[in-house]
C-alpha cells in the first residue's frame, strides 16, 4: 500500500501537533483521521502537493491523471510570478479509458518529452494521481529515464489524492524537495545572511510585501520555497544560514530536514500582522548573527522594526474609527487561526470566535491566550449555525476562505477572503495596512445598507 509506504513522512517529530503528543501518539503519525463520507470537505493529497510545488515558476508541472485532476483545477491559484508563467499552464496526460487499460507510462513518457520540447524548462515535476497509482503506473521509473534522456531533473511527486488530506500532500511535496531537489545545485556565491523561506507561496504577492524588509537589512532570500522561485533557487536551500517555516502545518518537514541534514537552524513564524512580522525579523537577525553574520544586524533589525511599526501606526489612522470594536468571525486554518486573531485585535477589533479545526495544539493554545475564552474557539461550524450567527448580527464581518463566503454573503454580511483565492496581499507591515483598508472599505460599503433595506412589498419599506 502506497499509504503505508508514505507513512514515514507523516511521522514528523518537529510537527507542532506531535510535540504535544505522547510517543505512542507520535508513532501514529500526523495523518488526521479520515474524512467522513457525505460530510467531508477539503482537498486531497495531490492538491496539497501541487499547491506546494507549483509556485516554482519556471518548472513544467505535469499532472499524470484523468481530466478531473487538472481540467477542473489548473491555474486556480493566485501565486504570483516575477518572471516565467510556465507554472500557470495546465499540463496533464488527460488519461482516457484506453490509457487506463493499457497503462499510462508510455503516454507520460511522451508528455514529458513534449513539455521539454515546447517549453525547455529547467526541471519537470510529474504529479501522480489516484487512477494511475491504482493501475500501477511507475512514475519513478518513467521520471528517472526521462531525466536521463532530457538531461534535466524530472521529479516524481508521489502524492495521489487518496493517500490523505491536502496537508499530507504538503508534507509529501516537502519530502520530494528534500529527496530530489534541495542540495542538487550550488549558488554562485553565498553570504552570511542567506536565508530560506519555507511554505511562503507568494499568494497575490505576499512575498513581495516582506522581501523589501529583508533587502533593507541586507538579508538575502537565497531560496524561496516555493513562492516566486526559480527551480535552481530551490536547489540552493542547503546553503541558507537560517530558515523560517511560514505555515507550520504545511512543510515543517523541510525545515527539519534542512536542520537535520545540513545543520541549518529554522523557526516557525508568520507574516500575518505587525507583531508576527517583527518577531520574524528579530528571530532571523538573531539566528543569522549566531551563524556568523555581523552583530549589528540585530540593532539594524530593531531600528527597522521601530520605524515600520511607527509607520504602520500612522497609516492605520484613517481606518481606526471604522474598525474599532467591530466584531469578527474568523474561519480559517493553520496558524492563521491565532496570528490573524492577534492582527485583528491589534486593529482594535473584537474577535468573537475563531475556528481552530485545522490548528495544532500549540496554535489552539495561542488562540486561547488571545481570546481568553474557550467558547470562542470553534471546531467546524455547520453552515446553518454560521448563517444564523451572521444573520443575527453576532459578527459584523467574517474572514474566511472562498467556500464559506456565501454563508456570510447570503446572510448579507461583509466578508473578506483571507485564504488562497484572495485577491489582496496581507503579509508584513504593508499587508497589515492592506487588510485594515480592505476591511474598512468592505464594512463601509454602501451595499450592506441596500441589501438590508426592505423591498417595496415588505414591511418597513420607505421610499
Amino acid at each position: 500500500m502506497l499509504t503505508d509506504r508514505l507513512a514515514p513522512v507523516f511521522e514528523e517529530p518537529a510537527c507542532a501537533t506531535n510535540r504535544a503528543k505522547t510517543d505512542a501518539q507520535k508513532r501514529a503519525g500526523c495523518k488526521a483521521k479520515g474524512p467522513t463520507p457525505g460530510a467531508a470537505a477539503g482537498g486531497c493529497a495531490f492538491d496539497g502537493a501541487k499547491i506546494s510545488l507549483q509556485p516554482i515558476v519556471d518548472a513544467a508541472h505535469i499532472v499524470h491523471g484523468p481530466i478531473a485532476c487538472e481540467g477542473n483545477n489548473w491555474d486556480n491559484r493566485h501565486s504570483a510570478s516575477s518572471g516565467s508563467d510556465l507554472y500557470r499552464r495546465g499540463l496533464t496526460t488527460d488519461l482516457t479509458e484506453l490509457d487506463v487499460i493499457h497503462g499510462g507510462e508510455k503516454k507520460l513518457w511522451k508528455a514529458i518529452r513534449q513539455a521539454v520540447e515546447k517549453f525547455d524548462p529547467p526541471a519537470v515535476f510529474v504529479y501522480q494521481t489516484c487512477v494511475p497509482s491504482l493501475t500501477g503506473d511507475d512514475i519513478h521509473a518513467v521520471c528517472a529515464a526521462a531525466a536521463e534522456r532530457h538531461g534535466r531533473p524530472v521529479i516524481p511527486v508521489e502524492a495521489p489524492g487518496f493517500v490523505g488530506t491536502k496537508n499530507a500532500g504538503n508534507r509529501l511535496a516537502g519530502q520530494t524537495l528534500l529527496d530530489h531537489v534541495i542540495g542538487t545545485g550550488e549558488p554562485e556565491t553565498t553570504t552570511p545572511t542567506d536565508i530560506c523561506l519555507i511554505a511562503e507561496f507568494n499568494i497575490v504577492g505576499d512575498l513581495w510585501q516582506v522581501k523589501p524588509l529583508f533587502d533593507a537589512l541586507g538579508i538575502r532570500l537565497l531560496s524561496p520555497i516555493t513562492g516566486d522561485a526559480r527551480y535552481h533557487e530551490v536547489t540552493y536551500a542547503h546553503r541558507a544560514k537560517a530558515s523560517m517555516v511560514v505555515c507550520s502545518q504545511a512543510m515543517v518537514n523541510v525545515g527539519r530536514g534542512l536542520q537535520e541534514r545540513w545543520g541549518i537552524p529554522y523557526f516557525e513564524g508568520s507574516f500575518n500582522g505587525v507583531r508576527a512580522t517583527s518577531e520574524a525579523l528579530r528571530t532571523f537577525a538573531r539566528l543569522l548573527v549566531e551563524q556568523g553574520a555581523d552583530a549589528d544586524l540585530i540593532d539594524r533589525a530593531e531600528a527597522l522594526i521601530a520605524e515600520k511599526e511607527a509607520e504602520v501606526q500612522r497609516q492605520m489612522e484613517p481606518y481606526r474609527a471604522t474598525l474599532e470594536g467591530k466584531k469578527v468571525l474568523l474561519y480559517t486554518g493553520g496558524n492563521k487561526a491565532w496570528s490573524i486573531v492577534q492582527t485583528l485585535q491589534d486593529m482594535g477589533m473584537e474577535v468573537i470566535g475563531t475556528s481552530v479545526r485545522k490548528s495544532t495544539d500549540h496554535g489552539k493554545a495561542r488562540a486561547k491566550d488571545l481570546l481568553h475564552e474557550d467558547k470562542k474557539l470553534f471546531g467546524a461550524i455547520p453552515a446553518g449555525e454560521m448563517f444564523r450567527m451572521l444573520k443575527d448580527g453576532e459578527a459584523d464581518i467574517m474572514l474566511s476562505g472562498g467556500r464559506s463566503q456565501f454563508v456570510a454573503l447570503n446572510a448579507r454580511r461583509p466578508w473578506l477572503d483571507t485564504n488562497q483565492e484572495r485577491h489582496h496581499a496581507y503579509a508584513g507591515y504593508e499587508g497589515f495596512i492592506n487588510l485594515a483598508k480592505r476591511m474598512s472599505l468592505t464594512l463601509n460599503a454602501p451595499i450592506w445598507e441596500q441589501v438590508h433595506s426592505p423591498a417595496p412589498w415588505e414591511e418597513g419599506y420607505t421610499a
Partner: protein, 470 residues
C-alpha cells in the same frame, strides 16, 4: 472613509477654449424626441449645416435613417429674416411627407436674431390652411445656448404637450409616462414591461424604443417610423397619472399635469436599487397590486449582483462624464457599489446636481474630465460616451460606455441601465471593467534591490486591485 463624500459644489469650467465637447446642441436633442413620435419630423430653422451636423451624428449613433429637415437659411435670409424660408419649408414638408408632428426648432442662428417665431408660426399655420393637413405644428423652444441634448429633448416634449394636451376623461390603470433622454430603447422596453407586469397600460412620450430601436421596416417613409402614435398624443390626458422619468422631464410633466389635472410623479432615476424600488412602490400604489414574482426575483438577483460586484468596485475611483440625469444614474450605481467619484463632468447646471456625492462636479468638457481626474490622482474607470475614450486612455483606465454619442459601437440603444435588471447589468459592467483593467496591469514585484518598502499610496492603482496572477 465613506465613499459617499460631502455634497459637491458645481464648478463651471473657466476655460474660454472648450476642448473635446461633451455637449451636443439642444436642437439635436429636440430632433431625437420628435423622431420618437410616429411619423415625426424635426425641422431646424437655420443654415443647412446646423441640420447636417446633427443628422450625421444621429446616424452615426443610431445607424438608422434620420428624417431631419432644414429651412436652409443663407446669409441674406438670416439678416433679413427667414420667415419665408420657414413657411416654404413647412409647406414642402407638410405636403410631401405629411408628418404627424412637425417640430420646428430654432437654432443659434435664428435665436441670435430673436425672431418671434411663435407669431410667425401662427401666421404660417393660418396661411397654409388645408395644406397643413393633419400635421401638428410644434414650436420647440430649445435655445442652442442653454443646455444640451436633454434640455432640447425636454423642450420638444413641452412643445408637443403645449399643442396637444387637454383635459380628457380619466382612464383607470393607464399611465402617461414622459421618458427622459437618458433612457435607451432597452430601458424603455424594460419600463413598459414593468408597468405591464402590474396590469397597467401606458403611453410613453417620447418612445424611442418604437422608432430608433433598430428594426427593419418593410417600406420606406420620409418621416420617423414608430414611436408614440398620433392617437396616443391626442389621448395624453386619458390616464390616471403622469409619471416622468428624469429631473429634466419635470417641466413638461408639470405642464401636462396643469393642462390635464392629472397627478404628477417625477422619478429622478431608475438606476440604483432605491430608484427601482420607488418605481415599484409607485406602480403598486397605482395598480393596487403587489409586485409579481418575476420582479421580486429580479430584485433578489440585483442584491446578489451588488454583493458580487462590490468586491472589485469598493474603494475604486470612477470618473464620469454625462448629461445631468444620466450622470445622476451613473453616480448612483457607482457610489452604491462603494466607488468614489473624484470627478464628474456634465453639460449644464441642472437642478439637484449639487447633492450628488462626488468630489468635484464640473460643467465642462472631456478635457476637464481628463485633466481634473489627473489632478485628483487618476482613476480606475471612466464612464462616458465614446469620445471619452481619449480621456480614458490618457488615464490608463477602461471606459464603460454610456450616453450620446456612441459612434464606434453597434447596438448601444440595446444597452440596459434602468430597472433592477439594468442596475444589475451596470454593476457587473463596472466590476468587470475594473477587474479586467487591473488584470492587465499585472501584479508587479518590487524593484529587485529596492531598499525602501513601497508606500501604499504610490501603488494605489494596483494595490487596491484584484490581481489575477493565478
Amino acid at each position: 472613509m465613506s465613499p459617499k463624500t460631502t455634497p459637491s459644489r458645481v464648478e463651471a469650467s473657466r476655460k474660454a477654449l472648450t476642448i473635446d465637447p461633451l455637449k451636443v446642441s439642444p436642437p439635436l436633442g429636440a430632433a431625437l424626441a420628435l423622431l420618437s413620435v410616429d411619423r415625426g419630423m424635426p425641422l431646424f430653422h437655420g443654415s443647412v449645416g446646423c441640420t447636417a451636423f446633427a443628422l450625421v451624428l444621429l446616424v452615426r449613433h443610431f445607424r438608422e435613417a434620420i428624417p431631419l429637415q432644414t429651412t436652409a437659411l443663407g446669409e441674406i435670409e438670416t439678416i433679413l429674416g427667414g420667415t419665408d424660408n420657414l413657411e416654404s419649408a413647412i409647406r414642402t414638408i407638410a405636403t410631401k411627407s405629411k408628418p404627424s408632428v412637425l417640430g420646428v426648432c430654432p437654432t443659434a442662428l435664428t435665436d441670435t436674431r430673436s425672431e418671434d417665431m411663435a407669431a410667425d408660426l401662427r401666421l404660417i399655420s393660418e396661411r397654409l390652411g388645408e395644406d397643413l393637413g393633419d400635421t401638428l405644428l410644434v414650436h420647440v423652444q430649445a435655445p442652442d445656448f442653454i443646455g444640451g441634448l436633454q434640455e432640447g429633448w425636454a423642450a420638444a416634449v413641452t412643445g408637443i404637450i403645449d399643442v396637444v394636451a387637454r383635459p380628457r376623461p380619466r382612464r383607470a390603470d393607464h399611465l402617461t409616462v414622459l421618458t427622459g433622454a437618458h433612457l435607451t430603447a432597452a430601458d424603455l422596453d424594460d419600463l413598459r414591461d414593468t408597468i405591464e407586469a402590474f396590469d397597467l397600460t401606458c403611453t410613453l412620450l417620447p418612445d424611442l424604443s418604437g422608432s430608433l430601436d433598430g428594426h427593419v421596416p418593410d417600406n420606406w417613409r420620409p418621416v420617423s417610423l414608430g414611436g408614440t402614435s398620433r392617437a396616443e398624443l391626442e389621448a395624453l390626458g386619458e390616464a390616471s397619472a403622469v409619471l416622468a422619468i428624469g429631473e429634466h422631464m419635470r417641466a413638461p410633466a408639470e405642464l401636462l399635469g396643469a393642462r390635464t389635472s392629472l397627478p404628477v410623479t417625477v422619478l429622478e432615476t431608475l438606476t440604483g436599487l432605491k430608484g427601482c424600488d420607488r418605481l415599484i412602490a409607485f406602480l403598486s400604489e397605482m395598480s393596487g397590486r403587489s409586485a409579481p414574482p418575476k420582479l421580486r426575483r429580479d430584485r433578489s438577483r440585483l442584491l446578489d449582483a451588488l454583493i458580487d460586484s462590490h468586491f472589485a468596485a469598493v474603494g475604486q475611483r470612477v470618473a464620469i462624464a454625462a448629461e445631468p440625469d444620466l450622470l445622476r444614474a451613473m453616480v448612483t450605481i457607482a457610489t452604491d457599489l462603494g466607488c468614489q467619484v473624484p470627478v464628474a463632468v456634465t453639460t449644464t447646471r441642472a437642478p439637484g446636481l449639487e447633492t450628488l456625492p462626488v468630489d468635484r462636479l464640473i460643467v465642462g468638457d472631456l478635457d476637464d474630465l481628463e485633466t481634473a481626474t489627473l489632478e485628483a490622482g487618476g482613476c480606475d474607470l471612466v464612464i462616458g460616451p465614446s469620445p471619452a475614450i481619449r480621456a480614458a486612455k490618457a488615464l490608463h483606465a477602461p471606459l464603460v460606455r454610456v450616453g450620446f454619442p456612441q459612434v464606434d459601437r453597434v447596438g448601444s440603444q440595446h444597452d440596459l441601465f434602468a430597472g433592477y435588471r439594468g442596475t444589475r447589468q451596470m454593476a457587473f459592467a463596472i466590476a468587470n471593467a475594473i477587474t479586467e483593467s487591473h488584470a492587465e496591469h499585472h501584479l508587479r514585484p518590487p524593484h529587485p534591490m529596492s531598499p525602501e518598502m513601497p508606500h501604499t499610496s504610490e501603488v494605489r492603482h494596483d494595490s487596491d486591485a484584484p490581481v489575477a496572477a493565478g
